[in-house]
Every structure is written in structure tokens, then in C-alpha cells.
Amino acid sequence: MKITMAHGSGGEETEKLISRIFAAHFQNEILDEMEDAAAVPGAERLALTTDSFVVEPLVFPGGDIGKLGVCGTVNDLLMRGAVPKYLTCGFILEAGTDAAVVEQAAASMAQAAAEAGVLIVAGDTKVVENAHEAGGIVINTAGVGFLHRDVQITPSGIRPGDCLILSGSLGDHHAAILSARMRIENHIRSDVGLLTEPVSILLGEKLAVHAMRDVTRGGLATILSEFAKRSGLTMRIRESALPVHPEVRDFCGILGLDPLTMGNEGKFVAAVDAADAETALKLIRDTACGREAVIIGEVTERAEVPVILETKIGGERVVTPLTGEGLPRIC
């Protein structure tokens, strides 16, 4: 079956698309009520977030747009210290898209949502004539998480002396997508995945985690710059500590890309009180997605520059956020 403009009409075809694909995969008591708005139990403090997902190709080594759409939003809730609970999802589909492709995305979303322990409780579908550059499917997800009243995880809470822990290797998602687009054959896989396990363990142990961010677009350089700006402190990291898989490193070298400004979809960086840092590191390393976690540096009082990298050969340089589109350079 191909998606047609009629599937976005709001009439019978829309109803069929919803029941055949979305309701079938996202099935739960709240969604099944098929009301105009989902009624859900709440909490005293809520965390809310939304994100839109455009990725070409729609399916790539390590994941697809559906998995990305759930993990991205769930991870954003986790980074605030919230317990993710509900998602909504909006699909914008190009007329002519194969329904099987939509179904695969929906199935991946359902699987990731189940793993994350969240329910998809509301949704929307629109059909447009042209979403060709986006590969035919755009997904928006919004997420709600419950936030304990005592949890205050924010970059403005970072303190001098905090250790910076990175949960794993840099650049994998970005390099996997670029490889697919450039039709370069290699073994690089996207790291798209949920950060539920390490985050819930850190919070459960009540460790002094001051700030967390998932390392997505803009990369570690952009996040550390934001940490520095919001806290008024300096982030000092060591190049020799930064984990980058050899194949990703070589790929970046050829194209003139810097793993520091490349996106991941299943890694996070945390600023943790020095007294708890070793414990936190051990706990993260015991999780499936955090085996390569390392302490990459420390927070200091504000120095001349916001983010400093100690290079492998013993030099120092400033790290600046990504500017522009992060295009491969000319030669």
C-alpha cells in the first residue's frame, strides 16, 4: 500500500491508516480510548519536551527514524532527572511513501517505547505532497516525565571540582549517517539508544549529579560550551581520555570532521561531584550502553576561556561550539 493524500484527509482512509499501523503498534489502554486528548495520571512536577526527527536515510546501520524518535525525546527527559512516562507522536508523511516503511518506523517506536517504559498516548498524521528531502517521513514526538520535587539537575548547578563523565565513544551516529549518505561501506553503526539504565541507577543511588546532557547534534564541544556558559565556570578536558572508535576516527580524518562536534544519539555527559565520581563511573560502566564510560576532565573556576582541551602531545587549545552545518572541508 502507498500513502496517498486521502490518508491525511481526516476521513475513512485516515482512520484505516491509524487502526492498521499506529493503533496496532502503539496499543495501550489510554490510546485505545481514541479521544481528542489523552487523560493521564500526573505528578506534582512534570518535565516536558518535544523534538522533531528528520533523517535520511530512514533506516541506517544501528537504527531507524522510529527508534530515533523515541530515544531522542526519552533521553531529553532523562537528562533533566525525570522519569519518562508518556509520549505523543505526530507523523508527517509524503504521498507515495510505502506503508511498509511507515509500519517499520511505527514498530521500532513501539519497541523503543516498551523498553523505555513509556506509553504513546496521543498522535496525529498529516500527508503532504513533498517531503522528498526528508526521505518521506518526518516524526515529531513530545514527552512527559515525572520529576521528583528534590531533583535539581541543570548546568547552572555545576560546581568547581566536579568531574566530567562521558558515557562512551564520540561521533558514531553522525559517522554512520554520513557513511550511508555517501554510500561508503564500513562497520560504523549508529549508537542510537536509550539512556534509561545508567540514569536511573545514578539517580537511584542518589549520587551528586549536578548536570547531564545527551551528546546529540553539535557534539560534546557544544554541550561543554553550554555547561561553561550556564555555570560561569571552565570545562577542562583531556584529548587522550576521549573515546573515539578507530574506524570513526579514520572516517573523520579523511573528511576533515572533528568528533568533538559530531552528534551521537545514545551517549551523555554528566558533571558529578568529585566525591561521587568514581562510584558514578563504575555504575555507568556496569550498564550495557556505558561500558566505555570515562572521566574526560574536570570543572575549574573560570579561566581565560570557557572550554580547554589538553592535547595528546601536551599542548592546550580552546574548544568552541560547532558553527555552521559541520560540512566536510574542501581538501
Partner: protein, 349 residues
């Protein structure tokens, strides 16, 4: 002395006469910054980023021509990424694209021919910008186009050659330059004999260097030790041979011939350009005539590229001109003198 620790110590503690060394390869510029090398050197050793970044030396007429072509019906301009943001006399290719001009970037030149073959009713113009390193790539693209009978691809060329530019910079520098890091990738193609001749002519040392942090430190150390000697040393022998890569040279010679070239902010340097030969003029969408260089008022990129001023001496540096909003071409690419200085803590004068 040979151990890297000793070299690091020597360069850190050097208290001899002040010495100014120039690198003329964009990748050297980027790697010197990325490795934090300026922070490891004595105040008396100054590294200057010369005209080694291809987009930095591309005159506005080239950008303007590409924009004009991109606005023509049925024509798409294809370019590598960096060139998109280089300001022409009006806007950049990126701003023209935002206004509806047909501009796309490609990752590999082979993609250009595939696109052209799939859409024979359309015209494609490829921005062939670069030095001796990328010229063979364009030559191979043309050879492939001839072999496949593809006629809807043309090049706007802005191809330059390094030795003439180095001679120009060395002879016109406000303060003398005491040595050059010869461009490693360029030498891989052309060989390093040209640089031995330049060392002899200009009476200063040249060292051919690789791109690793330690390789660069060794090359800088060698230049400091060779101060005042009219010698060339090849410290990148695994890749660079005296006579270079013959096949690449032959491919370039088949399609291109030398000519005078206009360098952004620096003026015309005799014999420093490569242009399509007459027999391949059907592939030519502009080259020799693209000499006009209407750089934005206030931009001092030319003086930066020749080492006359450090980037920070330009009144626009870091204020009106930043990597977000480049005013001059040197602020566009990570290989650009100003961008590299801005993003990577190059030492202030």
C-alpha cells in the same frame, strides 16, 4: 637531540633570536591548531598561517560567477562544503541558495558525473577550487566525463600553484619570514624539488612536514635549527618523493596549463594559476577572466595571509567577522588563518 621530549623542551625554552615561520597548507594550519602547538612554543617562535587554504585565496569574481550561474534556469552549481559560505562581492553561495539559486554541495567529484548523467537535460557547473592537491581530482573527473561522453558538466576553475605564491609572500613580507613548512600534500603530488630551488633562491630553509602533532613539532624544530640556511629537508619521505606523483602530474598536464592568477587580497601573481587548455574549452564555465577581487570594505585578509599582520590586528576580527558570520574568506574554513586563530587560541602578538 632526537627524542620528542627533548624537542618539546627545546621549543618551549628557546631563547635565541625571534623567528617567524610560515605554514602554507590548510591542513597544517588546522592540525597545528588542533594539537595546540602554539601553546607549546617559546614566545620567540611565531607561526604564521600563509595562503594555504584554497577558499581563503579565491577571489570574489569566482564566487560571483558561480552565483550568476546558479541563478540561471536549468543550471545547478555543485561545490565542496567550505566554499558555500565564502563572501563574494554581494553575498555567498549559501545566501544565494537561501534565495532560491540552485546550489548543492557534493562529497566526492564522482557524484558530479552521476548527477549529470541522470539528468542530461540539465546543466551542472562544478566549482573547481584548490591547489596542486585537488587539481588531479578535477583532471580525473574531466577524463571520466570525456570517456563517458558526458557533456552537461562544466567547471568554474580557481586552481592555484604554491611555489609562486611562496616566492611572492617571502619577497613582499613586511617582516622577513625565517622559514617555511612546505605543504605536505602538495609535495606528494608535485615532489619537493621545487622547494629545494626556492630555499636556494630565497636563502631560507624549507622543511616538508607530515600532519601528526609530533611530526609538526619535529619540522618546526628542524626549521629553528636550520635558521639562515638555504636548505630543504624532507621529513615526510614516506609520502613525498623528490619527483612526486607522475600519474597525477600527467593527468593535470593533459587538461590544464599554467597562467597568471588573482589571489584574494594579494593581487595577481604571475604563473600561479592552472586553466583549462583550449581543446577542452567546452568544459570551461569561467577561469582566466575571473580576476576581479572586490573584497568587503575593511577586510584585511590579504595582509593576514602574507604574515604582515596577525588576524587579531584586523579591526573586524572577532567582532564584525566571526565563524558564524564570516566577513572575510579567512574566517570561513577551519583551515582559514583567521578562523583557526579565532577557534584555537593562537598566540597574540
Amino acid at each position: 637531540m632526537s627524542g620528542i621530549e627533548e624537542i618539546v623542551g627545546y621549543l618551549r625554552d628557546y631563547d635565541g633570536p625571534s623567528i617567524r615561520l610560515m605554514e602554507v597548507c590548510g591542513t597544517h594550519t588546522a592540525e597545528i591548531t588542533r594539537n595546540g602547538i602554539p601553546s607549546m612554543l617559546s614566545d620567540r617562535i611565531r607561526l604564521i598561517s600563509g595562503p594555504g587554504c584554497p577558499v581563503c585565496v579565491t577571489v570574489t569574481a569566482v564566487i560571483d560567477r558561480l552565483i550568476t550561474l546558479a541563478r540561471e534556469e536549468n543550471t545547478t552549481v555543485l561545490t565542496f562544503g567550505d566554499l558555500m559560505r565564502v563572501p563574494g562581492s554581494g553575498g555567498s553561495l549559501a545566501s544565494a541558495k537561501a534565495e532560491g539559486a540552485s546550489v548543492d554541495f557534493v562529497y566526492a567529484p564522482a557524484d558530479v558525473l552521476d548527477l549529470a548523467e541522470k539528468a542530461p537535460e540539465k546543466q551542472f557547473v562544478f566549482a573547481a577550487v584548490g591547489f596542486e592537491t585537488t587539481a588531479p581530482v578535477y583532471a580525473m573527473l574531466l577524463a571520466d566525463a570525456v570517456a563517458r561522453g558526458i557533456h552537461n558538466v562544466r567547471l568554474v576553475t580557481s586552481l592555484k600553484t604554491m611555489p609562486e605564491a611562496i616566492r611572492y609572500v617571502a619577497k613582499n613580507a613586511v617582516e622577513p619570514i625565517d622559514g617555511f613548512l612546505a605543504p605536505g600534500h602538495v609535495c606528494a603530488v608535485t615532489g619537493c624539488a621545487d622547494y629545494a630551488r626556492l630555499a636556494d633562491e630565497l636563502r631560507i630553509p624549507f622543511v616538508v612536514s607530515g600532519f601528526g602533532g609530533e611530526e609538526l613539532l619535529c619540522a618546526i624544530y628542524a626549521l629553528v635549527r636550520m635558521r639562515g640556511q638555504a636548505l630543504m629537508r624532507n621529513l615526510y619521505p614516506a609520502v613525498v618523493r623528490t619527483d612526486g606523483n607522475r600519474r597525477a602530474q600527467e593527468a593535470v598536464a593533459r587538461f590544464f596549463e599554467p597562467g597568471d592568477a588573482s589571489w584574494r587580497g594579494m593581487g595577481t601573481i604571475p604563473g600561479s594559476g592552472l586553466y583549462l587548455r583550449e581543446e577542452y574549452e567546452s568544459f570551461d564555465a569561467g577561469g582566466r577572466e575571473l580576476v576581479e577581487d572586490r573584497i568587503p570594505v575593511g577586510c584585511r585578509c590579504g595582509e593576514v595571509l602574507t604574515g604582515s599582520i596577525p588576524p587579531s590586528a584586523c579591526p573586524m576580527f572577532g567582532t564584525a567577522c566571526t565563524p558564524d558570520h564570516p566577513h572575510g574568506a579567512c574566517m570561513v574554513s577551519a583551515e582559514g588563518s583567521c578562523c583557526s586563530w579565532y577557534t584555537g587560541s593562537r598566540r597574540e602578538d
